[in-house]
Symmetry: C2
Subunit: 201 residues, 2 copies
């Protein structure tokens, strides 16, 4: 966009918005205009919320979650089962599991998965502290909640090897038909896994 | 998302991001996480840019454009043709025309179009100041750059009536085949208009 249209402040806002995931150059312009129109109800509060987040959010030194306190809200929650650790790749996976409400345990965020292609090696992951946490006597189960991709499963194997010397049982998420899923649309690997792991009805 | 996952600061950031155009609840979570990961390169600067925009952006009292100065950069630009006024519905249309570089004139942003369905009446639009601007002796042409929709064309007719007593010539954008467009995909109305307004080759 030529310089003359709007002041440098608007240009800079558009350029930064365009770097957000889910927004391109065109939608960033639309978003900037909408924000300016809703200045008091959205732009101002969003600026404040981002400033607070930028100043106060830290990574939990225990589990790798992001929060405004260290240890994080989940690590401090006394009602959670201390015997189980759920290993996830990323904070977004932790949030997804929490939304499901399926497990009331503590987490360990690896911060990525091993990937030869992307050059991610074991020392890049949050692994040393995982081994140390699993070695604690109260931990009896480690649930590997990693993506069912090649990299995710490679990482699962590596994590299993790393904590083999501990007493904790290592489990992984079940493979099968997604709830609400149609068989016709599923791949052969998923269907095979679902048949193999069939349960009594 | 249950309250326990992250502090209220992150929750609030996600809720506000979800209100931005182009982001839903799910993509707002992803965006929030990306912003937190790029705290120093994106979240902090974006917070500052939004704060500056919220504090300093104003609506130009002459044309209705948004800028950090009043009159806006375009109204102050002495190199622009003072004889022509381009009437647009919204600031986004002004930006689009400026990107095209097709016209070096001044603009007038109506702030909407007449719409019986949405209850937008003439008094809701930035019309009085348009009539006043067109009445100035230096203005000899008014280009109606409004959307080729029913509401846009209704508004075009209304604007034409409102400034009929002025001496300025009123023109509208040409209808025709979009550059790069394929005839097979165009509607009959556009093709008819393109045939009617055919030009020598």
């Amino acid at each position: 966009m030529p310089q003359a249209v709007a002041g440098p402040e608007i240009e800079r806002l558009i350029q930064l918005l365009a770097r957000m995931p889910g927004l391109g150059p065109r939608s960033a312009r639309r978003a900037a205009l909408q924000l300016i129109k809703k200045r008091d109800t959205l732009l101002g509060p969003l600026a404040d919320a981002m400033r607070v987040a930028a100043d106060r959010i830290i990574v939990c030194t225990s589990c790798g979650n992001v929060d405004t306190s260290d240890p994080c809200t989940i690590c401090r929650d006394a009602e959670r089962d201390p015997t189980t650790l759920v290993v996830v790749e990323d904070v977004s996976d932790l949030w997804a599991l929490e939304r499901s409400g399926a497990v009331k345990a503590r987490y360990h965020v690896l911060g990525g998965v091993l990937s030869a292609l992307d050059g991610v090696r074991p020392e890049h992951l949050n692994l040393a502290s995982l081994v140390e946490r699993v070695a604690r006597p109260e931990v009896t189960e480690v649930i590997l909640a990693l993506n069912a991709t090649v990299d995710g499963q490679t990482t699962a194997h590596y994590v299993t090897e790393s904590i083999r010397h501990c007493d904790a049982k290592v489990t992984r998420l079940a493979h099968g038909v997604p709830v609400g899923g149609e068989l016709d649309y599923l791949d052969e690997g998923t269907l095979s896994a679902a048949i193999r792991s069939r349960t009594a009805f």
